[in-house]
Amino acid sequence: MASKKRSRKELFAQGNDAVVEGALLSGCTFYAGYPITPSTEIAEGMAARLPYVPDGVFIQMEDEIASLGAAIGASLAGRKAMTATSGPGFSLMQEHIGYACMVEAPLVIVNVMRGGPSTGLPTSPAQGDVQQARWGTHGDHSIIVLSASNVQECLEMTVTAFNFAEKYRTPVILLLDEVTAHTRERLVIPEAGEVEILSRVAPSMPPEWYVPYEDGLRGVPPMPAMGSGYRYHVTGLTHDRNGFPTSRPDEVQALISRQFRKIDQFFYDIQLTESYLCDDAEVAVVAYGCVARSARLAVDLAREQGVRAGLLHLKTLFPFPRPAVEAVLRTCPRVVVPEMNMGQISREVKRVNNGLAAVRTVNRIDGQIITPQEILKPLLRG
């Protein structure tokens, strides 16, 4: 009766467990965090596993500010570093997110979203931190924000988050929600070598020739590990190419615009979306996180009732996957954006819409996942 093919390791695990597996697979050797529901299992998993990883370090810090501070330090020292939190802790991390952007420290921040504002609904799902992830820290900056909707995707997107962080020298925020983080499903752990793992580029010139923030074609300067002989100055102040504080307009302009360019010019690599039955769709759903799962069922139900529905599932939230969304807005007269907030991604959809399609939102903020029925209603109504 049973069909057992266990060539690879299979687990029945939560999304949070999958994040742990993804991080270890990516070569993460440093975790600093402060446990908070519904992200606690990530801290628990890293605490259980990292002591058995060569050079693995797990530290429980005094709060989330210190957690991200420690992760930035580890990143500058050459480690692949991660921290995980939820709403209130994510708010505390905002200042250091800006610091990580400014000093271009590759690291991964997982935020398992729960109901807010403030302490809010600790054990219920929400998607209220989407714009905070993009704009929460002060100052104009570019950043990568990813999401995941099921357990296997939690592993994949964690690996992707580490790869983007290392490739573009930037903090990457992975937004999960309580449903995705706590649902148990089959998780297939890929073997090493089955997935592409990227690491930061180290400088190849001798230390005395090293210019820490030199611009190049990619806009991503090579990054040495602290203590490896390359000495440079790290500061949150705007700095020149040697790393020292500057307020000269031409140098400030060069620094900030390079930090934008290094991410924006690679939009085709970063903006991940998945299209489901969109080709002939007359109405499309744009969704992310656990709501994308409700939307998929709603699309199937609508098709059963003769409505040609489709789903554009956003995996990258920022930089906003404009080309994929525009394609849907151009071909579908009606677009529905369901989310568990008052309309944070629908703002973006409406921003790029330019009158192409009629955009409707489905919003829920009571700590419950949006059901397929709630999405089906606007799909059927023509």
């Binding site: 009766m1 049973a2 069909s3 057992k4 299979e10 687990l11 029945f12 529901t37 519904p38 054990t123 219920s124 099921n150 309580e178 449903v179 706590h182 649902t183 148990r184 499903e185 089959r186 656990c290 799962r293 409700s294 998929r296 069922l297 199937d300 139900l301 059963e304 996942i369 059901t371 397929p372 029925q373």
Partner: protein, 202 residues
């Protein structure tokens, strides 16, 4: 591929905190997912899990990938307390099956239900009332055609601490035997399960 094709079979396990509902859900889900190869999404209530509060675990099983991870319309409701039975009965489909603890649910809201004294069986036959969740799992082995005793037995050691595995292997046997005696034709004659169901949606 699993032997019996299923399109979204939805199970809710409910009762009081401390009855081992969440463990039951995890073992059931793991057996179906890893041993039988089904797609399974298992979710649970996060709230007052302290002993005495309401507790709930949901398991959605399908041969196809599962989109929406939570139950919409229950095919099987297991209620191990009267309160849980009253609360969740309305989520059960018309032809769905209600399985209760005979002693803990004295007033089922319908005539169409199955009852076995899981807690009393665990206390009297095994000398440990805490094993009642696994006695219940044994009954599910008999009730659910897609779940085999072998799969459950293979899963128990993977989830439970080593020192209680032996006791719980007995508990599964006990539950399965009792259910077979009391309801010999349930898996074949009752209509809550049909392997060819199309979408079980409202």
């Amino acid at each position: 591929m699993p032997a019996i094709p299923i399109d979204r079979f939805e199970i809710r396990l409910s009762g009081l905190g401390g009855q081992g509902i969440l463990t039951l859900g995890r073992i059931l889900g793991q057996a179906l997912a890893l041993e039988h190869g089904y797609h399974v999404a298992q979710t649970q209530s996060y709230g007052p899990e302290a002993r005495g509060g309401a507790s709930r675990a949901d398991v959605v099983v399908s041969s196809r990938p599962i989109s929406y991870p939570k139950p919409v319309n229950l095919d099987l409701l297991v209620a191990l307390s009267q309160e849980a039975c009253n609360l969740y009965y309305r989520d059960l489909k018309g032809e769905g099956l209600l399985l209760v603890d005979a002693d803990l649910v004295p007033q089922p809201p319908t005539n169409r239900f199955c009852a076995l004294p899981f807690t009393a069986l665990a206390r009297e036959k095994l000398g440990n009332a805490q094993a009642m969740n696994i006695v219940c799992l044994g009954a599910l082995v008999h009730v659910l055609p897609m779940l085999s005793l072998k799969a459950v037995k293979a899963t128990l050691p993977a989830v439970l601490p080593a020192k209680i595995v032996e006791l719980n292997l007995k508990a599964v046997e006990l539950g399965s035997t009792r259910a077979r005696k009391r309801y010999p034709d349930i898996a074949t004659q009752w209509t809550f399960f049909s392997p060819t169901t199309t979408a079980s949606m409202p």
